[in-house]
Symmetry: D2
Subunit: 301 residues, 4 copies
């Protein structure tokens, strides 16, 4: 199973009463599966995984596994703060049918998270995991940085097959690519630098906008792969405004609001997150409309 | 029950096999209780709470409650990322005998943690809590800042009675004190600025070194309270080197190592944390010895 | 000549046409000298020194020297990016009658400004200076940090007699005090932590609000010195809103606007700075009025 | 005159006694001119411009102008903290034959440097400048960020023809390109992201390594322009180690040491900078050797 192309980091739908809503999830999955997306990440940051207990976690994975056809990568976020909890979550995800696990760096005790600590943690997880492991660095959220030097060491582990780098530092992404073997897949996690990340060697991306406008994201990937750089650059520029709203500006609440606009019924985020304001909805609506226009023009030319 | 004086943020002992070790915890508690400390925090940051599952959490609280005599505040950390999980943990802690709960800010979705989001979160928790609530701001760990403007609003809630501010920004602590009513207890969480924090109006502190050298920390508090500023300042300066080793430098692994040196048997931290190096142990030993010397001299003079 | 008490970092008046206005400066100096301020800093950050050429610099110093009576410290900012330019400016300031020079850290080549580089720079300046040297650390402006370890080394130089620490990190100020001999004067540069800085051992401060409300600042110093901590703390809290407006919020343009409100005619700042908005003037007016009320109440009680 | 390709930010040679050494500069210029570099920047950050007085500045410009043939862009750094000093330096540079001026953002009064302040400053400079103006953003040095929104406004000025963006934030560079008209030249200032910056629309770069290994830098530019992305990416990766040593690690002292290794005689930096250590020289030597090997291999394949 290949880790190339555009993956969507799926949100987790909740009922109005706050409970996990597997029915809504199943319905939304049916639609995502009909898009040209390469695969799916469940229980990542955008999946509000930190808000779910372990039992809910299992139900969410099982629901996704029933929906996502074999052969299309189902990646499951299983990072926890302790190594033992991460291993337990990883094993359960494997048992429930995950194709890969995506393991976010522990980050609570920031000053202690040296390269050695990361290598120890990930090696133990990879040793115990029944499925291939993807590293996951998201410094803006965790406050720690999984450096290329640590990744280069971890890439030698036979059960560590790639990583998601959610930072937009293209120099660091370049180091990750040049410091790891060909078989190690570096996936980009920041949409506003996706094109540049592909240029410096990423083989794909896990992009929040891919949940909302999967065709646009896939087209950006394909244009770049085909060496049609001018078109790719223009599409990248067109995607930036929506990407910012779904990322740093409105985050998960923005993603869920944008999905409602796009006809997906994924409910509201759990508290302390709250639904976005009417102004935010208007900004999202405009960004989507503008992007659709850009894309139409780009396809016609 | 008053929230004045020096509180110790207790570590959680583990077996060599990584399991929670309630026997070791009970033995250590017996000794901490014999010191002049005002009270105790369990399952705070130093208690590796993020590494415990909910069942272990309950056992740790029950163990502490059996040991800590009524009348001496037992404060229990119950912060989780979601409001619902925080409420559940808070209710359970109350049922298990906590006198107060200490609720760290959620911080995963940093960009969404506005003043309004914090007010919403803490108000819901305080509404549901069977015991008085303490806010808990630890920006270095969470990456978010619970600002004085939000605290001023929350201090009006009848079930929110104080806060622990773990940052060393004395201007911010001054704002917290001047922006809240007299009855609202502001506790300092940084040892290297403890004396200054008391000067600007903190009524006490939750200090990692208080686990290791409780007498010194209590004496610093009492000297300041008694207006003996020159002595307090000198003792504060003497405490700084150990405080730095137990805080930013070696963190929880350093605290556990220092406790071993002081005759407490609290085991090692859970992975990805690891026991500190021999060099670190030597540095801790020296800092403790130096501090004891300072204190002896200070008491004689 | 002693470096104790409250010093005002004087702004440099300009004509409406942007030229240095020594007449306005003389008039304002006459008034500042009539206050109980301990002494004066000219050509510091608040003096827009970075906007003056060397000839203007000399005229500003000469003007101040004519006005400030001998026996009342006149401190002149002479920091430049290169050691040679700093030495030249320092010598000229000494020739023009400066009692002390205040030498801001070079900071352009940030990554190269190690402790050793700072020690080399300041030692060369102090060797060459005809008058005693004050170190000057202002990390928010320079982006570099003159650490206590470097200061401890420099404090051994016979011609380095103190420093201005403009950061509000009270732990760092504590380290500066405890790491230097008694004769080495540590002056605070942040008003919002002035009381705390005095508590941990500063012997005075260089405070922008001292230009506008010298009596209040001097009273805060004296209350603290007299051990009247409750009153000092209350006055400190009352001073914070104005201090913030004159510091991080409106900076030098705010200081010049506040001085106009207080009846000083110091003109506008040089471009790219610009006069503050009407809203800013209103906010400054309110902060000054509020502070005066606080002070009256405090004096009556 | 076109602003396309690789430009070298030339260091300023000094005598052993610290004086400006125009003879050494002339000799070094003769060699740089013989390379395929598109043009030259004098008195930029790497030129230690902040260490020169105005008279030295003029001599350095005149020396460069005598050497650099007409038709090959000579860009002169003229940024000062005040608008008036910047205008004066700009006019003098124009009189001395600069083809373009490169105007670094003022950054001393950081909190006041809003978009409006930058627009005001640069508009006044461009109005007064006898030659076309390039904006210059170098946040790591200045601590302020000239945002794409301000640049978009300034790009409408007929005498502002481009900018140097020294940050490595590729998303920001993408915004600069997409937010300005075709005629506005965006030049990259960070070597480790040069290839990516070209991908997102930069038309060239001002790169410290171009002083030392001009052929490699020019080849990287040409490979990218020719759409030979795999070769460009490989060469970029090979260039990174040297680029880091000349940038964040050893800065200007490292650049001058590397130039000595490459046979250029440019003397030592001015104090407080100091010549690099022997270890640094060894690291530079190795990085240059390694890069030459990479390049040979790359040319053969």
């Amino acid at each position: 199973m290949t880790l190339t192309g555009v993956f969507a980091p799926l949100p987790t739908p909740f009922h109005a009463n706050g409970e996990l809503d597997t029915r809504r999830f199943r319905d939304a999955l049916a639609r995502w599966i009909s898009t040209p997306l390469a695969g799916f990440v469940v229980l990542g940051s955008n999946g509000e995984a930190v808000f779910l207990d372990e039992e809910e976690t299992d139900r969410a994975i099982a629901t996704a596994r029933e929906s996502v056809p074999r052969g299309r990568p189902l990646i499951v976020g299983t990072g926890r703060e302790s190594t033992r909890a991460t291993i337990r979550a990883t094993k359960r995800a494997g048992d429930l049918g995950a194709d890969f696990v995506l393991v976010r760096t522990p980050g609570f005790f920031k000053s202690q998270m040296t390269n050695d600590a990361f290598v120890r943690h990930y090696s133990a997880v990879a040793d115990a995991s029944p499925v291939p492991v993807l590293l996951y660095n998201f410094t803006a959220v965790t406050g720690v940085n999984l450096l290329p030097a640590a990744v280069a060491r971890l890439a030698a582990h036979p059960n560590i097959v790639g990583m998601k780098e959610s930072g937009g530092d293209i120099a660091q992404i370049g180091d990750l690519v040049s410091g790891t073997p060909e078989r190690f897949a570096v996936l980009a996690g920041t949409t506003s630098t996706f094109y540049a990340a592909l240029c410096v060697g990423c083989v794909g991306g896990v992009l929040a906008p891919a949940c909302v406008v999967p065709d646009v994201c896939v087209r950006l990937f394909e244009l770049t792969r085909a060496g049609r750089h001018d078109e790719a650059r223009a599409l990248q520029a067109g995607l930036v405004p929506l990407a910012r709203l779904l990322g740093p500006v409105y985050g998960v609440p923005g993603l869920k609001a944008a999905l409602k606009l796009a006809g997906y019924d994924v409910g509201d985020p759990r508290s302390p997150l709250a639904p976005v304001s009417e102004e935010a909805v208007a900004a999202l609506r405009q960004a989507i409309a503008q992007l659709e226009q850009t894309t139409v023009v780009s396809k016609q030319s």
